[in-house]
Every structure is written in C-alpha cells, then in structure tokens.
C-alpha cells in the first residue's frame, strides 16, 4: 500500500480533532446525552479501575487508622467492663435532664474515590451503590456536617453532588434567630476557601455573624438539623428584596475521605448527632 501524503494525514488529523470537539460540545450542551455516555463508561470500562482505586483508598485509610483503632479497642475493652452500670446510670441521668434517646438513623459508610481533575470537589464518586441501599437524593454527611446529595446511583458506585457544585441548593435556617433561606455555593471566593451563600432571607430579618446554619428539612431531601455553615458576613445585595449572607462551610468535600450516606427517612431531626447533648 503506498504511503499516504502529508496532506491526507493532516486532513485526517483535523477531522478527528473536529469530531472530538463536536462530541465534547454536544455533551456539554445536552447533559442528558453526556450523562448517558458517562454512565455506560462508568459501568463498563472503568469498573476494574474503580475497584483498584477502592482497594487503594481502603488500604490507605485502614493503614492510617490502624493504630488509632487498636488504642480505641483497648479503651473499649476496658470500658466494657463497666458498661451495664454505666448504661443504667446514663439512662437515669438522661431522664433526670429530660434528654431524649440518641437518634438511630440508618446509614452506610463510604469511601470517597477522589479524581485528578480540578473540579473534583464539586462531585464525589462513592464506593457504595444501589446494592448497599443507596438511592438518588440520599443525603451525604461528614463528621462536621452536610457534604451533598447522591445524584446518580450505579450497582456498586454512586455519584454525589456536593455543596460546591453550582447546581446545589438546600433549604436551611439560622439557629437561634430562626431565619430561613436557601444555601448554595458562593460565586466569589475569598482567600483559599470556597464559601457558601444563604440567600432569600427576608429584608426584615438579620442574622448575626457566627450563627450556625443548619438544614431546615423543607423539600424532603435533607433531614433537619444538619450543620451547613457558619455566618461570616453579609454579601452585597443586587436585587434589593433579599439579604444574602456568606457562610463558612463546616465540611470540606475536597478533603473528605470517608462519608456517611443516610438511607432512612428524612423526617426526623439530626441536630443531636452534631451537637453535644449535655446541658451547659
């Protein structure tokens, strides 16, 4: 076969490049198509690689926490000797102080499979899926508060949209002052920290700096009482009919390595999971 001329090869290169650009732009313009293609890729070609990454994540976290776990096991063994007496005493003290029982919300722990792309913190690939009971719109939380919500569920993996995603919204209210609003990622960023905004606060209401903002439970996606952020100040209003507050987020999705996916009803408040239940 005679060798192809440079011009033919050059045309072919240009055509291939143009085809790649067109396909990329089509996926950007039609997210439904893009999601369909990405779902097929995720459930087929990437399965063995994601399994390897899952093992690597599990190995890293288990190695890092081995010493801590051993120390905790020793302490737990020691403490278990006094468990029946402690439980009875705890129950008696809780009833004396009129405290309710601890919440038992069904959940599954998951590893976060971080990727190398710069937009990694806006979504999280989780190591559990529908087989473990995860559903679309299952809330994802960390030890400090709300991280996001599950958007796509595969058999053994799921994708969560974090609060840093431009499409993220959550109904929330400011504790102590009881002001409601909608939380979303802030467009502007100060320093190195991604911030949140509490929007839609009525002009007549105001929220002091330092107030904790938690999910309100409205909308039925997030249970009430999950910490979202702490008020850092007031942003400039453009519309004139609302107040906008800037929040420091309490949980950082980009740094999260393990999360909890809530599987149960979103009706009961989770406030007691995040705050000490002792009376000051």
């Amino acid at each position: 076969m005679p060798p192809r001329s440079d011009r033919t090869l050059s045309r072919r290169d240009t055509a291939l490049f143009a085809a790649c650009l067109i396909a990329s732009v089509l996926m950007l313009a039609r997210p439904v198509w893009g999601e369909a293609v990405a779902g097929v890729v995720r459930r087929s070609v990437l399965v063995p690689f994601l399994r390897i990454q899952g093992w690597a994540e599990a190995s890293r976290t288990s190695r890092a926490s081995f010493d801590t776990l051993r120390a905790q096991r020793d302490s737990a063994t020691y403490a278990a000797q006094f468990l029946p007496a402690l439980r009875a005493e705890n129950q008696r003290l809780r009833s004396l102080l009129s405290l309710g029982a601890r919440l038992t919300v069904p959940y599954r722990a998951a590893e976060v499979l971080h990727q190398s792309v710069p937009t990694d913190g806006r979504t999280m690939l989780l190591s559990i899926g529908s087989r473990q009971g995860v559903r679309e719109f299952s809330p994802v939380i960390g030890p400090d508060g709300l991280l996001g919500v599950v958007r796509t569920v595969d058999r053994d993996r799921s994708l969560a949209m974090t609060w840093a995603h431009p499409d993220f919204r959550a109904s929330a209210f400011a504790l102590t002052v009881g002001v409601f609003g909608v939380v979303r990622a802030a467009v502007q960023v100060t320093g190195s920290e991604q911030l949140l905004q509490l929007r839609g606060v009525a002009i007549r209401d105001s929220v002091p700096i330092g107030t904790l903002v938690v999910t309100s439970g409205l909308g039925g996606v997030y249970p009430p009482g999950i910490p979202v952020g702490i008020v850092a100040g007031q942003a400039e209003e453009e519309t004139g009919w609302e107040r906008i507050y800037v929040l420091h987020p309490v949980a950082n999705p980009a740094a999260a390595s393990q999360v909890l996916v809530l599987l149960g009803s979103t009706d009961s408040s989770l406030a007691k999971l995040f705050t000490g239940d002792s009376v000051p």
Partner: protein
C-alpha cells in the same frame, strides 16, 4: 517492522503502568488536587509520539473517563483533554525538540492548560477560577511534570528520549 512493533509494545507497557498507578498509587499520595496525574502523563507521553488526530482521540477518551468519574459538567473534561492532546502532538511536530527538559515542560504546561479549559468549560466563578489556576493547577502541574521526568528517566530507552540539558 518487528522493531517498530517491539517499540510500540514497550510504549504501551509504560502507558498501561501509568494507568494502573493512577488508580492504585495516586489515592495514597495525599492531597488529591496536588498529587500527580498519571493519566495526563500517559496522555502527553502518547501525544508527543503520535499524530495530532490520534492524540486528540486519546485525549477525548481520557477526558470522557474523567467526566464519568467526576462529572462536574460532562463534556468539559473530554473537551479539555482533546485540545491538550492535539496541541501537544501538533506542537511536538512543529516546535519541540525531543529532550527530557522540553518534554517535562510540555507536560507541565499541558496539565495547567487542561485545568484551565476544564474549569472554564465547567463554569467556575472568577474567584474560584483564579484560586485554582494560580494555586492548585501549578502545584499539580509541577508534581505531574516531576513524575513524568522520573518516568522518562527510568524508561528513557523504551520511550526513546534523549537526556539533555
């Protein structure tokens, strides 16, 4: 013919190793936004040895895989990687001499450009964009370029790279 096949086989072995490292080693390397991107190393090593069309297709596939795993905006990764793959192959054919330092520099610029295009296509705000482009992207580009340099030194004969200043 046999020599060319052996050469290609060696190149694909290195690329395969980099893909495995991306999933097996990278999660253990600490901060995800700074850890080296082995897939970008593989893509750019392939691109600077290929025709621009093949490099664009390889970039599209790598980007699509990234979009499938971290879909802030599906298509942004495919677009960014296609452009970077095409430009690396085209630039290699037109400008770049084949030596270690220049290859490392191309990889560093490639990672930074990939991050820039992907962030722009994903609709990042100006503040977030500035922070990513001037803090995290250079750090990731640097670690990736250093990793690529190490790979090129270790596999210089397989990759047919001359060690020069």
């Amino acid at each position: 013919m046999i020599a060319i096949r052996a050469e290609r086989g060696r190149l694909w072995s290195v690329l395969g190793l980099l893909v495995v490292l991306q999933f097996a080693l990278r999660p253990r390397l600490g901060i995800p936004s700074v850890a080296p991107d082995f897939l970008m190393v593989a893509l750019l090593l392939f691109a600077i040895r290929s025709r621009p069309g093949a490099a664009a297709v390889a970039g599209f596939l790598v980007g699509l895989a990234g979009d499938a795993m971290s879909p802030a905006r599906i298509g942004a990764g495919a677009l960014a990687h296609s452009v970077v793959g095409y430009l690396a192959a085209w630039g290699r054919a037109v400008f770049f001499p084949d030596n270690l330092f220049v290859n490392g520099l191309v990889i560093m610029l490639g990672v930074w450009l990939r991050n820039a295009i992907q962030l722009l296509a994903s609709g990042s705000g100006p503040g977030s964009l500035a922070r990513e482009l001037f803090v995290w992207a250079p750090l990731q580009a640097l670690t990736t370029a250093l990793t690529a340099t190490l790979v090129m030194v270790l596999f210089q004969r397989w990759l047919d790279i001359r060690i020069e200043g």
